[in-house]
């Protein structure tokens, strides 16, 4: 263990630069020198040779702010991590990092961290010692086994996942609920059926045209930085890529579209069928491989009909179909707004079928190959696990549950009645950094170390051209000495069950070193021994893997009519779009002030929830900009202020996710509303996912605009004739820079 101690000893806090906070303009005139002998300088006891006070050193690790798992570099100075940047060695993000990743340090240094184990006694959570907490945990978990015990996590991968699986095995349970509101579970199911792989590689950089049906791949997507990098290549290619975005609410990605089309929520599949109809029947593209049922379905949707259903003009549909044949290879993507309906699977299948028809599979959609460590591959969160968990809880089928990395009480719609049902679980353990809604209901709270203090490995579900394991290492000593890393906690739990097997590992670090040592020689190429391999992995933060190329199959599954029979009747029906945004995402970042203060990219609102609605719809409802409105469904209502945006379909009202926390620290508490609460608990028919975008709502005006109702950046939506952002047609670009 001496290696570890040495590595860590240099992370000791140092007093140079005082608090590091250099106060300028403090009332000290600079002619007056500072009094000597007042401040203390703490020197090192025994530093490593390379540690120099006053010089920042960059260490690599892995970002855990969303499930994308980008490689990061953290700047460490005097034992404190100061800033995070992308790791240039990480193929996934190529040295870049999004706003959420940048804000990771704020979560780490948050004043609202849980700093000691808490146990419920007499209704309240009170601090206890780790020994006590672990003893109680041992006792309670010992009293249950089998499927009455469960883990409830977010998207989890790498060796932490392996340990969770092992712990479940040790407990004899199969119940691992993985929940993530921002997911692509339906697309994964379709991909698996049509391509044979849940997460194939999408190559925007190879496409000449991208048609995205509601896929916010650069915003609240599966790997925004990765796709943004690809997008940059796509746009700056010799032939500038063309992006068509079709969605009911303009997303961050939609903001960059060459053609943005508003579509009625839930009719994306119909539009895909309409395009397919044009491709097959008018442009005469081969229909090979399309099941006859689907072929018939396609024939039923001619342009006029599709235009009527979707609200997208016929000539636009024709143009898109035309362009898709001209710009090959192209890439057609389906996103959350397509998935989030009862017929989500069918819609996604209809969209993905276009890739088959256009021959994109194998060109812009590639296989991600067989990952050599299947046990480390990400268990991606979804919402069907949330529904099943709620059902299990209400059915009193669970005795003990350990929560980690997910906040189901916040994200479960009220219709699932989770906050009550969770009371049926006898023993709830939360491994958490913050007092979020779920943690607040736990019986035992174990304070987790932040990801900047913890060891681990991440295997992102979305991999770059080169698959890799991303290594997470502590960038500093634990800020709060009584917090423990997730891996360490699970290992302790495992030791309680399987002492013989896991007793050899002092801590998670030892476990990881052992696991790395056990990796096959093919992975350790170019390194002489295990230590060198370990050092190299820590240095680059990435273990690149050679995954043999594989060919994707390109098939089309049979799917049903991608439209719901119900909602269609009401032409004026308003669909609630609980849209996640790059920033607060699903609410997990609501406690980071940088992200609260960073304006929403499209509406530019800060520090609040708001409802986006099209001006014509608003006028019809008698609602003005900034008015307070009430959005009601069967399961409740929320009140918030409006922002009139033209980037909306007339039948849609969008409320961003992330706010409306009852708890979760000083920056999140009491701000805005949580639209997830009022969603119907309708499920997607094939995958059982929650149909998040299928809820119809009633909207009424409550009050005129108030002060602090809508707080936004910038007061003008127009450049007022100034040449601030100049837009030029692509022809001009072609004349000068293009091919």
């Amino acid at each position: 263990m001496s290696g570890k101690m040495n590595r860590r000893s240099f992370l000791k806090m140092m007093g140079w630069g005082g608090a590091g906070a250099a106060l300028s303009g403090c009332d000290l005139p600079s002619t007056v020198t500072l009094e000597e002998g007042k401040e203390e300088v703490v020197s090192y006891l025994m530093p490593e040779e390379f540690v120099i006070p006053g010089v920042g050193v960059w260490y690599s690790s892995t970002c855990m702010q969303c499930s994308a798992g980008c490689g990061i570099h953290g700047r460490v100075r005097e034992g404190r991590v100061l800033k995070l940047e992308g790791n240039p060695d990480a193929a996934l993000n190529n040295g870049k990092l999004c706003m959420m990743g940048q804000a990771g340090v704020q979560g780490h240094y948050s004043p609202d961290r849980i700093v000691a184990p808490l146990m419920r006694s007499g209704g309240n959570l009170a601090p206890v010692s780790w020994d006590k907490a672990l003893a109680v945990l041992n006792e309670k978990l010992g009293a249950t086994n089998g499927d009455r015990f469960a883990w409830f996590t977010g998207t989890i991968s790498g060796h932490q996942l392996a340990l969770v699986s092992n712990h479940l095995d040790a407990m004899g349970s199969t119940k691992h609920f993985a929940h993530d509101v921002v997911n692509n579970a339906v697309s994964q199911a379709v991909n698996k059926d049509m391509l044979g792989e849940a997460n194939p590689r999408l190559r925007l950089d190879k496409a000449k045209m991208v048609v995205s049906f509601g896929a916010d791949f650069m915003g609240a997507g599966q790997s925004p930085v990765h796709y943004a990098g690809q997008y940059a290549k796509f746009r700056t290619a010799k032939q500038r890529g063309l992006l068509v975005q079709i969605e009911p609410k303009m997303s961050l990605t939609g903001g960059s579209a060459d053609l943005w089309l508003a579509i009625k929520p839930g009719t994306e599949g119909v539009l895909a069928l309409g395009i397919a109809n044009l491709l097959l029947n008018k442009i005469k593209v081969s229909d090979a491989g399309i099941p006859s049922g689907v072929r018939k379905l396609i024939d039923r949707y001619d342009v006029t009909k599709v235009a009527k259903i979707t609200g997208v003009a016929g000539h636009r549909i024709q143009r898109v179909a035309q362009l898709l044949t001209e710009r090959s290879p192209s890439l057609v993507l389906a996103g959350a707004t397509v998935e989030g309906h009862a017929h989500g699977y069918d819609s996604v299948a209809a969209v993905m079928m276009l890739n088959h028809i256009l021959g994109n599979v194998g060109k812009t959609i590639e296989s991600s190959g067989n990952f050599p460590f299947p046990q480390l591959m990400a268990k991606q969160g979804n919402t069907s696990d949330l529904v099943e968990f709620a059902a299990a809880a209400s059915g009193k089928k669970l005795d003990a549950v350990i929560f980690s990395g997910s906040n189901p009480v916040y994200s479960a719609p009220a219709a699932l009645n989770l906050s009550d049902a969770i009371g049926n679980i006898g023993f709830k353990v939360a491994i958490s950094q913050f007092m979020d809604e779920t943690t607040a209901l736990a019986d035992l709270v174990l304070p987790a170390a932040s990801y900047l203090e913890d060891w681990g490995t991440q295997v992102p579900a979305t991999q770059a051209e080169r698959s890799a394991i991303y290594v997470q290492q502590p960038l500093m000593e634990p800020l709060h000495p009584d917090t423990r890393g997730l891996g360490d906690i699970i290992l302790t739990l495992l030791k309680q069950r399987k002492t013989a097997e896991y007793g050899q590992f002092d801590d998670y670090y030892a476990y990881l070193r052992n696991a790395f040592a056990a990796m096959p020689a093919a992975v350790k190429k170019n390194t002489k021994n295990n230590n060198e391999f370990w050092d190299a992995a820590l240095q680059t933060g990435v273990i690149n893997l050679d995954v043999p190329a594989k060919k994707l199959k390109s098939t089309v599954v049979s799917f049903a009519e991608p439209i719901s029979e119900v909602g269609d009747a009401d032409a004026n029906g308003l669909y609630l779009l609980p849209s996640p945004r790059m920033g607060l995402l699903d609410g997990r970042h609501a406690n980071l002030p940088w992200l609260q203060e960073a304006p929403d990219q499209i509406s530019k609102v800060v520090w609040d929830s708001w409802a986006e609605i099209h001006p014509t719809t608003a006028a019809k409802l008698g609602i003005g900009n900034g008015d307070k409105i009430k959005i009601s469904t069967h399961s409740g209502s929320i009140e918030l202020h409006t922002v009139l945006l033209k980037g909306m379909h007339a039948n849609a009202i969008a409320v961003p996710l992330g706010q409306g926390h009852d708890d979760y620290g000083r920056y999140a508490k009491g701000l805005g509303v949580n639209p997830l609460k009022i969603l119907d608990a309708t499920r997607e028919t094939k995958t059982g996912e929650l149909a998040m975008y299928g809820t119809q709502v009633q909207v009424t005006r409550v009050a005129p605009p108030e002060r602090l109702g809508i707080v936004r950046l910038g007061s003008s939506d127009t450049q007022a004739g100034r040449k601030l952002v100049v837009t030029v047609p692509v022809e001009q670009l072609r004349r000068t820079e293009g091919a």
Binding site: T31, S715, R722
Partner: protein
């Protein structure tokens, strides 16, 4: 002169009566005086409290924000600086022009100059983010080898205002010396001691009068270009900037005209008040009021003309930002203020064209105050809309100031009032010796003799005008 027969002052007035009347005004403050003092102190406390909040918590409490880095503080600064100009006009310019009707009213006008400068000087200090470092704008030899930025109009402001303040205080003081001697001779107790010191041993002998005349003339000559330059420099705060609505070539004369305008209006206000409260009907006569009002009217027309010049040059110029701003001022959020300014500044002065109104003291009081409201609006409309609507549309904003900001502006009037109230009870607000001179000259002007003596200042023509008691 509307009526040749009407006299500026009753030339039969006895010199002793002049002394008595003026000295009486300095004594025995009535309850109304103390009430006014209390009101002023209350107003100052509001400002002090507001400044306390602003000082301890930050400038944000003035509702200042990214486009509106300046607002009412700078508008008030310009307003008070402007107010200070008429004292100089009346005392110095008219002195050089031998307009002797200025004599009964110039003293308080000059006091007004000094006090409005003292008020104006507070505003740049109040508006500084780090008040405690304000001395950095002054050029002083420092260990650090640091100097102010001599290219900055704000640094010029610091020099110009401090020079103007010291010069106008000196001018006020010098002009008062013979009167202070009279006060000394009549005074008792602390007043005696005070005036003894201040009168600088004035005996009223020939040599003293000769030196006095020269000094006074010299100061007057010195002060006039200074006054013009001060407000031109203040206008440079705006004209030197690149912002639309500020970058205007005609700003220096425009500011000077506006300054004289608001100053004259303020003189009328104080004229009415002093005439009423101190029963100065014998000195602050209706003909003098008429002359002041006519002067004000003339300046109002100059100001109006310069306004039109500015609008026209913007309208026919090619600068889109300026034009856009002008339209926005006239139609946007600030339109009520803008049009009030136009009405109060350019239309209302036409009341001064009517003799009956000019001679009606209550009307003149109201009109003069409204004129100054208009001039305050003018300063506000120079500062705020430009910041609201600059080149960068993203940061457009309209801001109305906070309680703190308005409180400090409000308090500045109390501060000015208090200083003035103290002045009228401590110093003679009508120049006794000069009124005596005036009476003397008017008496003589009937007869042709001594014309040479009247204009030749080296002759002790008025040796008995001041300090005659001491002989």
């Amino acid at each position: 002169m509307t009526m040749a027969t009407e006299k500026d002052i009753n030339e039969q007035i006895a010199w002793a009566k002049i002394n008595t009347d003026v000295l009486r005004s300095m004594e025995n403050p009535r309850p109304a005086y103390w009430v006014t003092v209390a009101v002023c102190v209350a107003m100052i406390s509001v400002a002090v409290f507001a400044e306390y909040i602003q000082y301890t918590e930050g400038m944000g409490y003035a509702n200042l924000n990214n486009p509106h880095m300046w607002d009412l503080y700078i508008a008030s600064f310009v307003f008070w600086i402007g107010m200070s100009h008429s004292g100089t006009l009346l005392s110095a310019i008219l002195h050089l022009m031998h307009s002797d009707w200025r004599k009964p009213i110039y003293r308080f006008a000059e006091a007004m100059t000094t006090f409005s400068l003292l008020t104006a000087g507070l505003f740049p200090i109040i508006h500084l983010g780090r008040v405690w470092n304000m001395y950095w704008v002054l050029p002083y030899v420092s260990d650090r080898g640091h100097w102010p930025n001599f290219r900055s109009p704000l640094a010029w402001d610091a020099f110009a205002i401090s020079t103007y303040l010291s010069a106008s205080m000196l001018f006020l003081f010098i002009g008062m010396i013979p009167d202070l001697a009279i006060c000394r001779d009549h005074g008792k107790g602390w007043r005696k001691k005070l005036y003894t010191v201040l009168a600088l041993g004035w005996e009223g002998n020939d040599r003293q009068w000769r030196h006095f005349r020269k000094t006074y003339l010299l100061m007057a000559c010195f002060l006039i270009p200074l006054a013009v330059s001060v407000h031109s420099i203040v206008s440079a705060d705006f004209a030197m900037a690149i912002m639309p609505g500020w970058h205007v070539t005609s700003f220096p004369p425009y500011f000077v005209a506006g300054a004289l305008y608001s100053g004259c209006a303020a003189i009328i206000t104080l004229f009415v008040l002093l005439r009423y409260f101190f029963r100065f009907e014998d000195y602050m006569t209706l003909p003098i009021m008429e002359k002041t009002a006519k002067l004000t009217f003339a300046i109002a027309m100059v100001w109006t003309y310069l306004n039109l010049v500015e609008f026209a040059s913007i309208w026919y110029g090619h600068n889109v930002y300026d034009k856009e701003l002008l339209i926005a001022k006239a139609t946007g959020a600030y339109a009520p203020i803008f049009w009030s300014m136009i009405f109060l500044g350019s239309v209302l002065p036409f009341t001064l064209a009517f003799r009956s109104l000019r001679r009606h003291m209550p009307t003149m009081f109201v009109v003069s105050i409204l004129l100054n409201v208009g001039m305050f609006f003018e300063r506000w409309m120079i500062v705020a809309p430009t910041l609201s609507l600059s080149q960068e549309p993203h940061q457009w904003d309209v801001m109305w100031g906070s309680v703190v900001e308005w409180g400090i502006v409000f308090g500045s009037f109390g501060w000015f009032g208090l200083l003035f109230l103290i002045f009228v009870k401590v110093f003679p607000s009508v120049s006794m010796y000069e009124v005596k001179e005036m009476v003397f000259h008017r008496q003589r002007s009937a007869g042709e003799e001594d014309l040479i003596r009247m204009t030749d200042h080296t002759q002790p023509a008025t040796e008995t005008a001041g300090g005659e008691e001491s002989k």
